[in-house]
Symmetry: C2
Subunit: 333 residues, 2 copies
């Protein structure tokens, strides 16, 4: 199935949880995390960022996985569409607007019910429309602290998810995440959409609803966040899960601080893994992925899978990543 | 070429010129004209309107050409994407945002230079991205009073266009349009983008820029407005005009109050005509097209051409239009 023509969809959004110091490294500072989704989207579409003057990097300078995605997709050249489910910073590129809103702090209330319904309705209609032209969608995400809201969403849907989601950092701030999630789960509504309004984020709803509306096969390109998206899909249409496969990276599967395979099994969603090996890169910033930095994001794992099944080798992919990274370093110099 | 897979793109926007009483009948009242683009887009995507409680109708109740487009496309089911170049009312569906702005009164200044550049840049990037998946685009427009801004734009670009654009009304308010356009052309800047910023509208820029960025063939689905879009394309890349064909209706060509073929010849753009015949419709509101009401819009002529070249007959198309119109009448009853 995944050898068919596909469109790559990047769903972006923000959650105010990313402003909590220490909870995510998907941005050089907590405030900059809100620029990451827009900058990732610009990099994927333009090959450069406009909202910030470099590509998103972690506090220690490790580059966004958007680099991996752009490299992998460059071998295939699918249609790439950016979908804004609710980002505080809008990317300076054409994007599809689901008319959602940025996610607020889940310890209070993340989204209004009206906006949850708007994201779901518009997402489903977009998925349905894309079915007219594509048999497969590859859907990535970019939302700093999205693993925390994913943990809260999975737990709110009754899954054993506390301490089981991964992190872009080699030392997963599990203690901080647990405290935030347990507080968010207090006085949880019983109605599904109300639950999602309280503890989820716009990107999970965007990814899930586009998948629900799409008639073909969907590769959810991401880690534990995509397990949460699959869980939402299952709540809204339990048969749809059979058309869904998660595609991620080996670093997510090997992440001892999380339980990607256990969570996927609980939800009942299949997982494909791209055996990426960045140790052969010329750059420390890329090699760092091998030490558990970043691990996944912006559809990197799924995009690599789509390149690999079309005959691209790990060496070719890493060579392209180094080439793109070199271009960035020289343009910044 | 046009038998290839295509995507249908509807570019929507508003111009404050449509608020001038008597200048357009693309809305039941001048104020309602600003809802027409959003409602047309909703009807194309959803088969119903959300921003207003019926489909857009002229003051005498004649239905929007979106009906014709939806009927024609229903035989083909292409991917349909709505692009907002600058509409005062946002449609309640997923749409692609070019981050433009609504057009102000061209007798003062329609758009800021910054927004002209934003629409053009984002439109070209969207066209380029769509080239990864499609060989052909069919681009329609919905912007009440768009023929007035088209006349101003063509004249500003040096074409003999005064009194030559058509109208959705059988009695083309030529006197009023001429007065508005001649006033708008006073103190016209010499720089191209400044000229467009003064007298054009967001939709012309959106249509032209998407066409410019697209690498395949483009069917500009519309009447004299599409001649203005072609003129803008030619200004920005004169070779691109060879990949452009206008597809419109016989009513536009037969419109004695305008000069579609003369204008097209001046600009040097080819025109295809769909020989629609609505006299066989069961409904007066549809038959009225034969008396010069509405004539074109929302990509009706081009969509009909795409259906006809795929073997659909006029009878089949009119039968489908009547079926959709009946559905609307009963849902309104």
């Amino acid at each position: 199935d995944f050898k068919n023509d596909f469109a790559y969809i990047l769903v972006i959004g923000t959650t105010d949880i990313s402003l909590i110091p220490g909870i995510t490294i998907a941005g050089a500072t907590p405030e900059l995390t809100h620029f990451t989704p827009a900058a990732d989207a610009e990099y994927i579409i333009l090959g450069k960022c406009k909202s910030i003057n470099t590509i998103p990097v972690s506090p220690s300078g490790i580059p966004t996985p958007a680099l991996v995605t752009r490299a992998a997709l460059s071998f295939i050249n699918p249609l790439k569409l950016v979908v804004n489910a609710g980002s505080r910073v809008l990317p300076k590129i054409p994007f599809i607007d689901l008319q959602g809103e940025p996610g607020r702090d889940i310890r209070k209330y993340a989204l209004s019910l009206e906006k949850v319904n708007s994201i779901i309705e518009n997402g489903m209609k977009l998925g349905e429309e894309l079915s007219n032209a594509f048999k497969v969608l590859v859907i990535g995400e970019s939302i700093p602290a999205g693993t925390t809201t994913a943990m809260a969403t999975l737990a709110a849907l009754g899954y054993d998810a506390i301490d089981k989601v991964s992190s872009a950092s080699p030392d997963n701030p599990k203690e901080l995440k647990r405290r935030v999630v347990l507080e968010a789960l207090k006085s949880l509504p019983t109605d599904l959409n109300q639950k999602l309004a309280k503890v989820s984020d716009p990107v999970l709803l965007g990814v899930a609803s586009i998948s629900l509306g799409f008639k073909g096969k969907v590769l959810l390109a991401g880690g534990t966040q995509m397990v949460a998206a699959a869980a939402i899909i299952k709540e809204l249409n339990k048969n749809k899960i059979h058309d869904i496969v998660i595609g991620t990276t080996k670093w997510i599967i090997e992440d001892k601080s999380a339980d990607m395979l256990g969570l996927s099994k609980q939800v009942g969603v299949r997982v494909l893994v791209s055996m990426l090996n960045f140790s052969i890169s010329k750059f420390d910033g890329i090699k760092a992925y091998e030490m558990g930095y970043v691990k996944e994001g912006v559809g990197a794992g799924g995009s690599a899978i789509m390149a690999f099944i079309r005959g691209i080798t790990n060496e070719q992919l890493v060579e392209k990543i180094d080439e793109l990274y070199q271009k960035l370093l020289s343009s910044n110099a």
